[in-house]
């Protein structure tokens, strides 16, 4: 899955589309940014490595013209979910898939090098070598990857028109996906309540998590900011912060594709995705549903069964 192969595909696709969305180098070696390619010259600058963290699929619903997008396995679930919800016209999208063995959490890398300015970044099999003024540091990618990569079930995109590389199978057991949720549930009610209170209290309501979320379709109409309806006030209290995160979680019920963008962009390091992951684990349990996996599925909150096999009436 070399960058060369990717460029080849981009060049092949370009004449058919308005834009190809990929990645390019950012302001320093460790920051890669999204890249909207229009010409063969642009294509030359395209980059693919473990620092290509952004979920580029998130741009699709807002684009009208035919677009090609480069996606990792995890990002492809966003597209599948868009298809389920009818948010994109599949015939208007060209998907370039990239098999991926895991990306790097920039936050974790920066922490590992004590937030020193990065001078250079190199990769050598499954390792990342960071050069700062204090010298070189070699980190195993597995040690600095985001949590989602540790239990990744879809290293190869679920949907694609072109694949830059050979498909790879997941090596992670499927049961591992929600292990952290199960682990967390071992805490007492009080511990959990305190945990979320403390975490959400850190929130500065910058809405970065929402803005980065590919499934937050409301954009400027988000009810966290409207007066009609007026769901939450501007008061900076624990309750209002909690309310905001509950809105985000409930609106994503049965839709969160676990791309992790919300947590990646959170400036306060709040585990924003935890509630959504919990809901996902319940969607699996209740409806045997996993978001963003099968384009034919119906999101469970928008449908029902007259007899629900797994929902039992609760006794008082």
């Amino acid at each position: 899955m070399s960058t060369e192969k990717l460029k080849e595909i981009i060049l092949k696709v370009l004449p058919d589309v308005d834009t190809v969305i990929g990645w390019q180098e950012g302001f320093d070696k460790i920051h890669i940014t999204p890249f909207f390619m229009k010409s063969p010259e642009d294509a030359e600058k395209a980059v693919w490595n473990s620092l290509c963290v952004q979920n580029l699929a998130a741009y699709l619903p807002s684009l009208k013209k035919k677009t090609a997008v480069i996606v990792k396995g995890c990002d492809s679930r966003t597209i599948v979910q868009y298809m389920q919800e009818g948010l994109i016209d599949r015939s208007n999208v060209v998907i370039i898939g990239i098999p991926c063995t895991g990306v790097v959490s920039v936050k974790k890398v920066l922490k590992a090098v004590d937030y020193q300015p990065i001078e250079d970044v190199k990769f050598s099999d499954e390792k990342i070598i960071i050069k700062t003024s204090k010298g070189e540091k070699t980190l195993a990618i597995a040690d600095v990857c985001p949590d989602k990569c540790k239990t990744c079930q879809y290293p190869t995109p679920i949907v694609y028109d072109h694949l830059a590389g050979d498909p790879i199978e997941s090596t992670k057991p499927a049961e591992s996906v929600y292990e952290d949720i199960k682990e967390f549930e071992k805490k007492s009610l009080e511990e959990r309540r305190d945990y979320f209170k403390n975490e959400f209290d850190k929130c500065i309501r910058c809405y970065a998590c929402r803005n980065a979320c590919p499934m937050c379709v409301c954009q400027d109409s988000c009810i966290a900011e409207t007066r009609d309806p007026h769901w939450i006030t501007q008061k900076l209290s624990s309750e209002e912060k909690m309310m905001f995160h509950m809105i985000h979680a409930v609106h994503l019920a049965g839709r969160c594709v676990e791309c992790g963008e919300c947590e990646r962009v959170c400036p306060m390091d709040i585990p924003v995705a935890k509630l959504k992951k919990k809901i996902n684990s319940e969607m699996k349990e209740l409806f045997d549903y996993v978001p963003g996996v099968n384009p034919e599925d119906k999101p469970p909150m928008y449908t029902f069964n007259v007899e629900e096999a797994k929902i039992k009436e609760h006794k008082l």
């Binding site: 379709v217 409301c218 954009q219 109409s221 009810i223 309806p229 007026h230 119906k298 909150m301 928008y302």
Partner: protein, 653 residues
């Protein structure tokens, strides 16, 4: 904003356990409240006048009435404030009677609770917006589903009232169960003789368009404007050409077709006219038995038909009709005897169901009215009737009483004696249910004049011994087990919901109970209405019924339709969903969850894709509002802000 608050004493109903004066005093303290008072009977005429006067005097623009349940008097007070010049949606009611005064004795706690209830109503009314109904035209045609006696009655009454009627009947002829009965209780008059003229009327009435052997495929629309798709099932006979001469039936070589009309008492031909009085009197081929269909060769009927009506290539046809109201008269079904394994199920030919016996008694039935045992065609001398064969039996899911069996068993016992004077009938019963005019006297006659032996107890087992059927039951009055050596056993099988009742209810959007019977709008005061406006019920589809009740309901449903159609325009309820196109992002999740398909995709002039509500279809459930992530679609009168204001009125930390 100037809110007026009226606290009702309801005599001592409320004032007895709520300090109404204090509630009014507390209400006065709430910002926005300009006037608050308490009154003895707010719903009385002087009470309403008081509200109207206060609106004028105090210049009030919103009203809260704290009284009984809004389900009781919301409409009353809406009209009151409307008369005083306010939009009727500027009214809120606080239910301080049913939900407070009547369910607790602690006056202190009740008063606190009432203050909260009033605060919530005040908070909400301040969020209320004026709403205006729009009116639309009614299509004054009516669809009647089911051509049994109830459906025919409804159809004839509507047609005589000048309405165009579309009557859809599933089977090849109208008449339903009643057309199969021999005589009717308690007058012993011939069933088909009294029903026949009605059937003819239905067939000939210029206002009635009859679709026999047809089913409802799809129902779309709303009160005043329904679009109905009707599936005309293939009969393989062109009914335009068929004269009902019956030649085909005579010559048809497939003699072993199942006879639906006679409940399988005897076989019929693969091409048949169900019974001599059938309306329409047309032939129909049963492809499950027809040699042409099974073996690809025969064609006797096609050759013999003098008008060339036979068409083996015929396909189902879908036609569309537009109507403004629907009468559902789909009738009932009978329990499958096979479930009753202790009675042999259908193992023993001489254990038959009541309706089958009815066909044996009937002069136009397969035995020309001679009672004979299905097994050997001999005349039975000892006949045992078993009531509650499945009815009142929780263990098979029929806990209810089928209602009419006691009566028809008495009738059959009487008729049996008439047919076979030296016969003896036995009737096993648990209770005799005969609460109609002349009904109980009738069951007495069966015993007193016709000598039927009534045995109080259930039958436990029926089995053959030699040529006899042994019926083993209990006589609980004697306190013993009894056995009867019978020649024929007749089971009064339970009345159950018609086949496909649930699917039909889904198409109609009406509710049905766990047994599949349709649920009326109110068990006492709205017996033929459903919760879907424009859809009415008649007959046994609502629950087991005898003929007079079914006819009564048919007429009642017709009266409802005629009264509905006495207007030219209908007003739509403005408490429906409304889209804020500025906020709508066009994700169309609301479209997916709307139970009424009342939401469609729309494109604004700007090219923006948004959701759009079809006002006349929206029923106002609000599922869309709780689906929409951006609050762009709001159910009027129950908007997010209105409900949130109620929440905040009581949840303040």
């Amino acid at each position: 904003m100037r809110v007026g608050v009226f606290i009702c004493h309801c005599g001592s109903n409320i004032a007895g356990t709520v300090d109404v004066a204090r509630v009014a005093a507390e209400a006065r303290k709430i910002p926005g409240v300009a006037f608050a008072t308490n009154y003895m009977y707010t719903c009385s005429e002087p009470g309403q006048d008081e509200i109207k006067a206060a609106i004028k005097r105090e210049n009030l623009d919103r009203i809260v009435v704290a009284a009984c349940s809004p389900r009781m008097h919301e409409n009353t007070f809406r009209k009151t404030i409307q008369k005083a010049g306010l939009n009727k949606y500027f009214l809120e009611m606080a239910n301080i009677r049913e939900h407070i005064a009547w369910i607790g004795n602690d006056k202190e706690l009740n008063t606190e609770k009432a203050i909260d209830a009033v605060s919530m109503a005040i908070a909400k009314v301040m969020q209320n917006k004026p709403l205006h109904a729009t009116s639309f035209k009614i299509n004054k045609r009516v669809l009647v589903i089911g051509g049994g006696v109830a459906g025919m009655q409804a159809a004839l009454d509507c047609a005589d009232g000048g309405l165009d009627v579309v009557l859809v009947e599933k089977s090849p002829a109208v008449g339903g169960i009643m057309a199969r009965l021999d005589k009717t209780f308690p007058t012993i008059d011939c069933s088909i003789c009294i029903l026949g003229p009605k059937m003819v009327d239905v067939g000939q009435h210029e206002k009635i368009k009859l679709f026999a052997y047809s089913e409802i495929e799809e129902i779309k629309g709303y009160i005043g404007n329904y679009q109905i798709k009707i599936r005309k099932k293939a009969t393989y006979v062109d009914w335009e050409k068929c004269t009902g001469c019956g030649l085909c039936m005579e010559k048809c070589p497939s003699k072993n077709s199942y006879d639906y009309f006679n409940f399988g008492v005897a076989p019929t031909k693969a091409i048949n006219i169900p019974f001599p009085q059938a309306i329409p009197k047309k032939a129909k081929i049963d492809p499950n038995y027809c040699r042409q269909f099974l073996k690809g060769k025969c064609g006797v009927c096609a050759k013999i038909c003098p008008t060339g009506a036979i068409n083996y290539e015929m396909k189902d046809e879908i036609v569309t009709e537009e109507v403004g109201a629907i009468v559902v008269a789909t009738g009932y079904g009978l329990l499958d005897q096979n479930i009753l394994t202790e009675y042999g199920g259908t193992r023993y030919p001489d254990v038959i169901s009541g309706i089958q016996y009815e066909r044996l008694l009937n002069a136009s039935g397969p035995t020309s009215g001679h009672i004979e045992r299905p097994s050997d065609h001999t005349e039975p001398k000892t006949i045992v009737f078993v009531s509650c064969a499945g009815s009142r039996d929780k263990s098979i899911g029929v806990p209810y009483c089928s209602g009419f069996c006691c009566m028809y068993i008495a009738k059959q016992a009487i008729l049996t004696k008439d047919h076979i004077p030296d016969s003896q009938s036995y009737v096993f019963y648990m209770d005799i249910r005969s609460p109609g005019k002349g009904y109980d006297e009738f069951t007495r006659r069966a015993q007193e004049e016709y000598g039927a032996q009534y045995i109080r107890g259930r039958v436990s087992k029926i089995y053959p011994k030699g040529k006899k059927m042994i019926v083993r039951g209990a006589d609980t009055l004697l306190g013993t087990q009894v056995e009867i050596e019978a020649d024929l056993v007749v089971l009064a099988t339970a009345a159950i919901a018609a086949e496909g009742a649930a699917e039909m209810a889904e198409k109609l959007h009406i509710s049905y109970d766990t047994f599949g019977f349709y649920v009326e709008s109110h068990p006492k005061l709205r017996p033929v209405e459903t919760n879907t406006s424009g859809v009415f019920l008649a007959g046994a589809c609502q629950g087991p019924k005898d003929i007079p009740s079914s006819v009564g309901q048919g007429s009642a449903a017709a009266a409802k339709v005629l009264s509905l159609f006495s207007r030219d325009m209908l007003e739509s309820d403005p408490a429906i969903a409304q889209v804020n196109t500025n906020a709508c992002v066009g994700c169309l999740k609301c479209l997916k969850t709307c139970p009424f398909q009342a939401i469609v995709e729309d494109t604004l002039r700007s090219g923006k894709k948004v959701a759009k509500v079809i006002e006349t279809v929206c029923a106002g459930c609000g599922v869309c509002t709780s689906t929409c992530p951006c609050g762009a679609i709001q159910l009027q009168h129950f908007t997010d802000n209105q409900l949130l204001s109620e929440v905040s009125a009581i949840c303040q930390m």
